[in-house]
Amino acid sequence: MSEQIEQALERKYDAGFYSEIEADTFDIGLDESVIRRISEVKGEPEWMLEWRLKAYRSWLEMEEPDWAHVDYPKIDYQAISYYSSPKSMKDKPKSLDEVDPELLRTYEKLGIPLHEQEMLAGVAVDAVFDSVSVVTTFREKLEEAGVIFCPISEAVHKYPDLVKKYIGSVVPRTDNYFAALNSAVFTDGSFVYIPKGVRCPMELSTYFRINEQNTGQFERTLIVADEGSHVSYLEGCTAPQRDENQLHAAVVELVAMDDAKIKYSTVQNWYPGDENGKGGIYNFVTKRGICHTNAKISWTQVETGSAVTWKYPSCILKGDNSVGEFYSVALTRGRQQADTGTKMIHLGKNTRSTIISKGISAGKSNNAYRGLVKMGPKADGARNFTECDSLLIGDQCGAHTFPYIESRNPSAIVEHEATTSKVSDEQLFLCQQRGLDTEKAVSMIVNGFCKEVFKELPMEFAVEAGKLLEISLEGSVG
């Protein structure tokens, strides 16, 4: 039986193609001159460059963290190119008609048509290719509602006051090694501002694609939801299949002002490397949001890709009655390693947080949940509920749970539940006896295990995520 499961799990990575697109790519290496050049090609104001340089100088003093339950060879930061842009993007195309058709084809192949009439109605997309944003759709429609949705490199010019005020306000430049590196060299990403009382009329999404070889992707996303506003945002990511590892170190900052709600969903499908662990993306990401009074931030992530994942989307529950949520499905196969979870920092009174984490390990992979729940001295009546479930497929993988709980308030309540289970031969036999083949059976069992998380995804993407797990688990062509 386990042999059949193994077969069902054989990977097929559909997004592993490379697009032949002429690119302007920096030579490998990192020093202050590289940062100055990035700032220069982006035509940034002086303050932004200064900010980057400060981050770079702090990064030089910092050490790469080694506490995560992952193992990878030391990264040579001088062997990476820190900027790559399709040549055709140099002239800054003004409309979709001016965009290189090969770029558009790349996104089409990935199932993300960028022509508005072909798109899922109600979803606006910012398409980021290597170090630049290719196009952002539905901008006019969003502008009518007062919503700003644009590449962050553009926001630096057009909305400097907003960017200056909020960038680094949730994830400080010196927060950690990878965040500092990102602050120094970030190239593009999305900027979102939802004005007071506005309910964003459509789903916003950013689609990240790494294409060039030996480049790193360092995107930065900043979402500010002003008082009483609502927004739902989704990001997706893929990369070509290669033998070398590539670094992706992103920073995402969310600001939810009083009574605002932000729902942030991720479907992460970076190239995971081959079955022997060759190649794949190192996904070292810092994501954090701050909630003011009565605000709510909800993180939902479906992590199926990357060779190594190091990622803890977190909430700082600063305002009274604010709510933080974290729903996660992390699937590891082959030699993938994931160390992921969340931090819920309860500072205000009656703050509430929910953590539902589903880890699925197969093959020879390792999957760790790491979560911190912290109750500050003023967090009277704060509550947390954590559920952490692991599903093992086969007998050579590992599931690990590292919960950290710190409570400095006697009235705070913290609950933690954890389970570990296996896809059993009995379950498979029942499915097969009812006429289902092994692949269908395994994907059904895994989808059932993830149900609580999938129901949190925006509807269009819940289907997508289910399919992604199916593809990930399929032996044949998906």
């Binding site: 039986m1 029942l430 097969q432 006429g435 092994t438 059904m444 989808n447 059932g448 295990f449």
Partner: protein, 253 residues
């Protein structure tokens, strides 16, 4: 329809079935009784192709097809249904979703169009009512948190929906109170249409008061040692398996 000849099978190198012959014609109900450890459940697993149950000799054909050559799911699609003694839970996968996939897999095999959600729902509701389970069982996870009796009724519901040609019931009576037993038996009887065949594996004669068998076989030490009509079951009820010899008498005592 089902023809078993000289079947030998082992589990983890232990020989359990030792030369079993059985022929089941369309529409017949065969009861298989026998002491613990006789190989009753093993027979169901061997016929359905469960991993780890190795056939070492003999032939089995189902509707003239070589059953032993087929994968588990292919046997199921060929019309073989096994009602489990201890149905396993599949958390998070709704009964509806599970059975719809399953029914459509069978339909595909028969060259029929898959049922739409609405068509399926109608059938599922009817089957659910027939086995007297509340309709919310369709939405619940497969066997998740069901009582023993509910699990057994859920198996019968699946049997009704899948319309198999051969049903093997593995101790579907164990752990049931008299009312639940009646529901299970009614479900089975409703599916007797003169064409569908049944193999009813049971330890006790009780079930056979409700599901009248055409033939009763006594399985002991991996072989059918005695066959007869329904009266054989009554004999066993009265005298136990004493006629098999002293060794069995002791196991039963």
């Amino acid at each position: 329809m089902l023809k078993i000849s000289n079947l030998h099978a082992s589990v983890e190198d232990k020989v359990i079935i030792k030369g079993l012959d059985l022929e089941v014609n369309p529409g017949e109900v065969h009861a298989i009784m026998g002491p613990n450890g006789a190989g009753k459940s093993t027979l169901g697993y061997v016929l359905s192709g469960r991993d780890g149950y190795e056939v070492t000799d003999g032939n089995v054909t189902l509707n003239d097809a070589d059953l032993l050559e087929l994968e588990v799911e292919e046997r199921a699609r060929a019309g073989l249904f096994l009602a489990f003694q201890y149905p396993v839970e599949i958390p998070g996968v709704s009964n509806m979703e599970f059975m719809k996939e399953s029914v459509n897999a069978m339909r595909e095999q028969r060259g029929e169009e898959p049922l739409t959600a609405a068509e399926f729902l109608k059938k599922a509701k009817a089957a659910c009512k027939q086995v007297q389970l509340p309709l919310d069982f369709l939405k619940r996870g497969v066997n998740e948190g069901f009582s023993g009796g509910e699990k057994k009724r859920n198996e019968i519901m699946q049997m009704i929906l899948l319309e198999p040609s051969l049903c093997i019931l593995d101790e579907s009576d164990s752990g049931l109170d008299i009312d639940a037993l009646q529901v299970v038996a009614d479900g089975v009887n409703s599916q007797r249409d003169g064409k569908r065949s049944f193999i009813v594996v049971t330890h006790y004669q009780r079930l056979l008061d409700y599901i009248k068998p055409d033939f009763v076989h006594i399985l002991a030490d991996g072989k059918i040692v005695k066959s007869g009509d329904a009266s054989l079951a009554l004999e066993v009820e009265k005298g136990g398996y004493a006629f098999l010899g002293k060794a069995y008498e002791e196991t039963e005592a």
